[in-house]
Each structure stands twice: as C-alpha cells, then as structure tokens.
Subunit: 470 residues, 2 copies
C-alpha cells in the first residue's frame, strides 16, 4: 500500500501569531503561563513532561472548531486535554502547539431514562456522571482507576473493573460529535442502539487518542443499577491458584461484574494506604450484579470454584459503605503502590492476553520481577486477561531505569507472543509506540493512511500512536 | 474538509485481459457463464440484478490477494460474495468486474473453548458454525434471518433476534484478516478480549460492506449455551400494547435474549407457511437465557409486564424441538410473507429508533400501510427498536412500485427524524444510499476520505454506501 505521507511537521507555522489570535478571541481563557503549560503536559508516568506552548479553556463545540481552524491555518499542533490522567504521554506536546482543555465542557445535556442513554459534554468525569444519575436508578459502568473525563476515556478506549461484564468505552458509546482537523464538525449518528449505516465512524474515533479529532459530545449507554450487588474478597495461596479461579469463573459463564486480582505486595500496599486489614496474599476482589436470587446463585458458584482452587475464606461485603471502601481501595491501588517506595516513580504496564494464557503470563512476569529485584506490585482486570504491573523506579538511577525498560519491553513482547496486546486499556500514546508494529504489523500502515487522509497537516495530537512515514 | 477524490471509475481497464489472466490462474474456478454471473448479482430484493463480468471461486487468503492484485493492476472492480443473501444490492456489479466467491473458504480453523473464541474462514455460515460447535457447549448468537456467511455478516454489521442480549457483529468480532485494495493482507490484532492498541481497524472493516477490503478470516467471540432456555409467545390486542410491553421489559432491565414482534398479518403468514396455529393478532416471541432460577425469574417479571399491557395468555415452549420450530418460523417470516401475495416481490425496510419512540414509529407506519392499502406485514427485533416492514409489490405495476418507494422513503425519513437510523442491520448497499447523508451528514464526506485513502482506484465494491464525489 503506497502512502503518500507529508511530513508537514517540518512546516509548522509561527506560534506567536496563533497565540495573539487566541488571546484576542479567548482573553483570560487562553494562557501561556509556565505553570499552566506544565500542568497540561503532565503525563502521570515516567515519560518526560513536554508542555504545550499555550492552553485554551474552551466551552462549546463551536469554540473548539474555532481553535482548530485557527491552528490549522497556521499549521500548529493541537492536543486535547481532559483531566490529564492518561498514562502513556497522550497529553504531551512533543512539537509544541495548543492544549485544548475541555474540562469546562462538563454539562450533562440530557438523560433519556426510558432509552437508557445520556448525552454529555466530554469534560464530564465518570464520577460526576454517576453522581448526576443517582436519582434515576441508572449508572455508567466504565471505571478506569482515575476519575477521568469521559471524552478522554473514549479517546483512549478505556475500560476498568466492570469491563468483564459491561464492555469498554468501545461498547458503551452510541454516537459522538467531534471537531475534525479542518475545524468541521462530525456527528457520527443518531440514538438508535444499533445501526448498519456506513462506516463505524464512532468506533474509529474511539481509541484514536485525539489524533483524528477532538470529541466534543458523547451519547452513552446507561445501565440499570442492579437490584442486588454483592461481593467480597477471597485470598489464595498462590497467584496461579487465583488465576485458575478466574479462568474457571469466565469459562463457566458466571456473569461476574468485577473480578480483580491483587498480588500479595499490592494487598500490603492497599492495607497501608486505605486502612484495610486484608491477609497479605494473592487476593481476588469479586462483585456480582443481578436480582437477589441470581446474585446468590453466582456467589455460590464462584465459592465452589474458589474452593477447588485452594481459595481461603471468602469475606463478604454486603453493606454498600463497606463495598465502596473496598473498591475505592482498588481504584487507589496506583497511589497505594507509590507508597511502597517513596520518592520513586511508578511505571504501569497494561498487557492483556487470552484468558487461557493468563496464569502463564502472570507467572513468567512474576519470575522476572523477582529475578530483577523490582518492587512491582501487580493488579488486574483478570476477567478480561488484563493485568498491570506497577514498576517502582528510582528515576535518578540510570541503570535501574534501563533495567525497568528491559523488563517492560520483555513483558509487552511476551503478551504479544501469547496472542495478546501490549495495551488492554491505556492506549499507545508515546510510551507504547515501539510495540505497535510488532502487534498489528501492516495495520500501522493503514493507521497512517487514515491519519493522513483525515489530518494531512498532522496537527491533531502529533507524535502519538504512529509517526508519519518520512 | 477537502476531499481530493479521483473518479477512477472512468478509467477502468480491459476486462478481457483480466479474464484471460484469471482463467489461466484459476482454471475451472473462474467462470464467465451467464447463469453463474446472474446468480452472483442476485439481490434478494427489488434492486435490479447487475451481474459481474466473471466469478472466481477462491480458496485461500493468498488467492484473494492474487485476484485483488490482478484486478488492481487493471483497475477492474471486485465484488466480494458470500451467500448472496444481503438485501440492499451489496453483491451487484454496477460497474462490472469480478465477483470473488468466498463460499469455498468455509473451514473452522480453530475453536478455543477455554477462551470462548473461534477462528473461521469467511464462507462459514452461521448454522454451519453452530453445528460445528455443538459438542463444545458453546454457540455463536448472531442470527440474521438467512443462513448467511459470517464474512458477509461482518461486512454488513449484521445482527438478528439475539442482538438485544448478545450484541451485533460489531460486538462479537475479536479480530479479522482482510485483503486490502492493493492486495496487501491486514490482520487487525490478536486474540485478547479487549485492546487499546491504535485505531479500531476491525470495527472499521465491519460494516464497510466490502468497500475497503475482503474479509478472509475472523476471530469470533463465543458464548456458553445457557443452562436453561425458555420462552414462548404472547398475543396482544394491539401493536401499541405489544410495543409498550417491550419498552417496559427493556427499561426494567430484564436481560431478555430475544423479544420479537410480529403483527397480525405476519402471524397469519407464519401460520400458513410454518404450519403454526397462533392466534392472528400482534404477538411477541420471547426467549430467556440463564440458569433455571434466573430464567424462571425473568419469565415471571415479563409475565407481569405483559399482563399490565393487556397481553393474552403466554404460551410456553419448554421443549427444545417446539422452540426450534417457533424460531425457524420467525426466521422464515420473509418467505412466509411472500406467500401472502404470490408473484409479488418483497421489499424489506429496516429502521431502528430509540425504544421510547418505537410505539409511535410503528403506529405511524401502520397507519401509512393502511392508507396506502399495501399488503405489508411487520416483524421486528423490537428490543433494539428495530423493525422490518415487508412491502409486497407487484413489480409490473409501475404506479404501485412508485407508491412503495414513497412509503419507504417516508418511513426512513421518519426514523431518522425520531433520532434513529434507516438501517439497523441490513446496511446501506445501493438501496439506502439516498438516506445516508440525511442521517450522518458530514459523516458521508469522512467515509469518502477514508475510502479514497484506502482504495484510491475505487475498485472495492464500487457504487455501494457512498459514491465518490466527482
């Protein structure tokens, strides 16, 4: 496939000109202050901060369109920004340009309870949406660890603990509105639950990490809050036993809503950070959704499987308050882990493999961690075959940083060799670019073709996912 | 967005040259016989047969790649063909060219029971796959009326009666392999259940109706055959009552596996064609999947809703044999309907609206049918808001054909105005091209940009979904 790609990065325009235009158009809502710029290049990771040259705080789709038109005219990069909680350098500005901060576009525009959907602006966060929905009996299930913006979650095809039951952002967006690289506004479709009308443009934008356009509105599927929710924690003597319990649960078809593995080190970190008193051994956090009868049945079936896999005593959390505390601890695992080695940075991996390979992948990885003497707790959405290792690295120790790089590279290649992916939910961004071709081969060329067709100037979040071929 | 589109249709090469090359390469497996050509332009619809100039019966991905390279070199159109059961002229060859018949690529390459997935060639049909899976305890749920090929189902983003519970082809393909318009081979990803690795190329191909490439392999999600399946039929005094029962079932969150509406005329047709003795009034066909307890609970809840909506006696089909007969009758509804007016053609509509608008959309449409004096039974996957009217038209009566066109146009526009789609599952093909822009606006331009980037010669199934801008 011949890709006539223009390396237009070399012909960037004058930022000063764009800055003056944006200042005039947006006044106080456009900033070039150093602190604001650095905050918008923050990467929640070991990737170095590459701040944009300016930040504009937009409030409407039309304003986003205006900013994009101005930048397009001057060939200046545009980097969409939600909450800045992405993990692979998505908000970095390696070629400079304007960060478009969408956090003020945070209105819930409509809740159509009867259709189980809602229409929101992209700056609405997942917690904000669920707070808003509280009185309706509905909820939005996708929950990455951070309280991320839903626009950002769509852009990175995020998932979280509920994906095993409710799917990922891919499955829960009905349509979206996006400003394309020429400033034009695309709405991908209407509110029908399914459609066979032309290319699936919503799915193309979801996971494109801001490289094809800026999402400015989303219609999301909602789900009824289950009549009954129950779950709890179950310790296992080994990680392998815990993995086997997960594999059997999935293969048995138990419609578990959440099934998360924490290794012993992660449990220790969570005990300390979240004031829990769990037994410090490999542990599954499990949750069941359904009617009273169905939840009881699921729990019983899971209990039998856990028993067979040498599981210890299953501790129930029937109270909503207790349950919230437990899952908050799970969501805070990242912060808890950082406490294991103060002063170090955490580098999160994100591999996902077919569930039949899960135990093997986890065990080989655990062996590497031991051999390489890393402090690296493990936690994961194991029902999907997805797990994270958080490698705690002293960034001032060049040798350690290099060894961490080797470890991560080996893990990503292992997952790909096991018919899996280097990223289940964090995205490619800058950090995983070296692995994409190994994983999807010729797909990288197709991505470049599409990118060049839709963004010939390469102004939309350049330097992410794949570089144009020079 | 400026689309530099080349109307390369005008520069087609010499078919004779390509024909000679294919004859030499494929021998008996390449045919230019009139009967074979016409069979491959058959459209199962009122659209006129536009046969390809030749048909090649391929057996491997590499052969598909060879055919595509040969056609690309000579700028000759390529039309993928599975079972020819699509409804919108997808297999027609308006610009001539070569039909690539994939029916001999019908091997199940792997069943990974432990991962709940399988790898198949595109010519495998849905029934063939489920027969193959019989001993595994797994099944593939997507069931359009016809026993279509899975490659074709992916290409049109098909769904069917189970979509309300199991999703559509969009949701059940893990990865795919496709031959692109330059003959290169794309594999979109590995077997991980979820991935955030770059653009969602699988979803881009799914629903692209062969205009971006030819699908030659699919990895599909499988599901465990439920422990218990039960269901039956429930008559209602009016279509509105039946719709209201559906709406409440969905809003209540009952995880119904199938919920299908047949209007009185459709029931009459099915009684005659499938030797049933149902009461000839609007009727819901319903099925529940789960454990014994959960199925009983779902049925009880549905029973209460049906009662509230003036439903008649719910007739259970507990026996597998009885159930199969009932659902076969549902799948044969199209053929049954044709019997209502022998000698006429059936034109199927495919609108899908948010469920809150379903009753209104169905009722306004029923009113049109009555006023326009059409014989036009109605059947639908109403749990998704999707329903079909089969307008029986005497194709020799020009006035009737024109009136049918007006009716369909009005219905499609009504669905779009109700925030829905003109096609829930059949696709755009040739037949629905006039409605796509009304539905997705600027999206048509984006489709053209992508199409031109990936298929600059416009050789892949030209004349479907959207025409290049001249």
């Amino acid at each position: 496939m011949s890709a006539d790609l223009v390396a237009s990065s070399n012909d960037r325009g004058d930022f000063g000109t764009v800055s003056a235009i944006l200042k005039q158009r947006f006044g106080e809502r456009f900033s070039t202050a150093q602190a604001v710029r650095e905050q918008h290049g923050h990467t929640t990771s070991w990737l170095k901060n590459q701040p944009p040259e300016g930040v504009v705080f937009v409030e409407t789709t039309e304003e986003v369109s205006d900013v994009v038109r101005i930048c397009a005219e001057h060939n200046i990069p545009i980097i969409p920004f939600g909450t800045g909680t992405s993990l692979e350098g998505h908000v970095n500005a390696p070629e400079g340009g304007v960060s478009v901060d969408l956090s003020r576009m945070n209105r819930v525009l409509a809740v159509n309870s009867e259709d189980l959907d809602c229409i929101i602006e992209p700056g609405v966060t997942r917690k904000q949406l669920n707070d808003h929905l509280r009185a309706t009996g509905l909820f939005f299930p996708i929950d990455p660890g951070a309280d991320a913006s839903l626009g950002g979650m769509a852009s990175t095809r995020a998932s979280g603990t509920n994906a095993v039951r409710y799917g990922t952002m891919r499955d829960n967006v009905i349509n979206l509105t996006a400003v394309l690289p020429d400033g034009s506004i695309l709405k991908t479709g209407n509110r029908a639950r399914k459609s066979a009308a032309g290319y699936d443009l919503a799915r193309l934008l979801i996971g494109s990490e801001g490289t094809l356009g800026i999402i400015t509105e989303l219609t999301l599927k909602l789900h009824g809050i289950p009549q009954a929710i129950s779950g709890g924690v179950c310790p296992f003597p080994t990680v392998e036993d815990a993995c086997n319990a997960v594999i059997q649960t999935i293969q048995y078809g138990i419609p578990v809503a959440r099934i998360e593995l924490l290794d012993a080190l992660q449990v220790k970190a969570c005990n300390a950070y979240s004031n829990l008193s769990l037994s410090e051994q490999p542990t599954l956090f499990v949750e069941f959704h359904g009617s009273d009868a169905s939840v009881a049945e699921q729990a019983e079936m899971f209990g039998e499987i856990a028993d067979e896999c040498n599981g210890g005593e299953f501790v129930w959390t029937a109270q909503a308050e207790e349950r919230t505390k437990l899952w908050q601890a799970r969501h805070d695992a990242y912060w808890a882990s950082l406490g294991l080695r103060p002063g170090c940075e955490g580098i999160s991996t994100d591999v996902c493999v077919p569930i039949s390979r899960l135990a093997e992948c986890v065990l080989e990885t655990a062996k590497d961690i031991e051999e390489m003497k890393f402090v690296a707790p493990m936690v994961g959405h194991v029902g999907d075959g997805n797990f994270h290792v958080l490698v705690l690295v002293d960034m001032d120790d060049a040798d350690e940083v290099a060894r961490a790089g080797s470890f991560i590279s080996k893990l990503n290649k292992r997952a790909i060799a096991m018919d899996g992916t280097c990223t289940g939910e964090h995205g490619i961004g800058q950090g995983k670019m070296p692995y994409l071709e190994a994983e999807i081969g010729h797909g990288v060329d197709v991505i470049r073709l599409i990118k060049t067709a839709i963004d010939p100037q390469n102004i939309m979040n350049p330097g992410k996912i794949a570089l144009p071929r020079q």
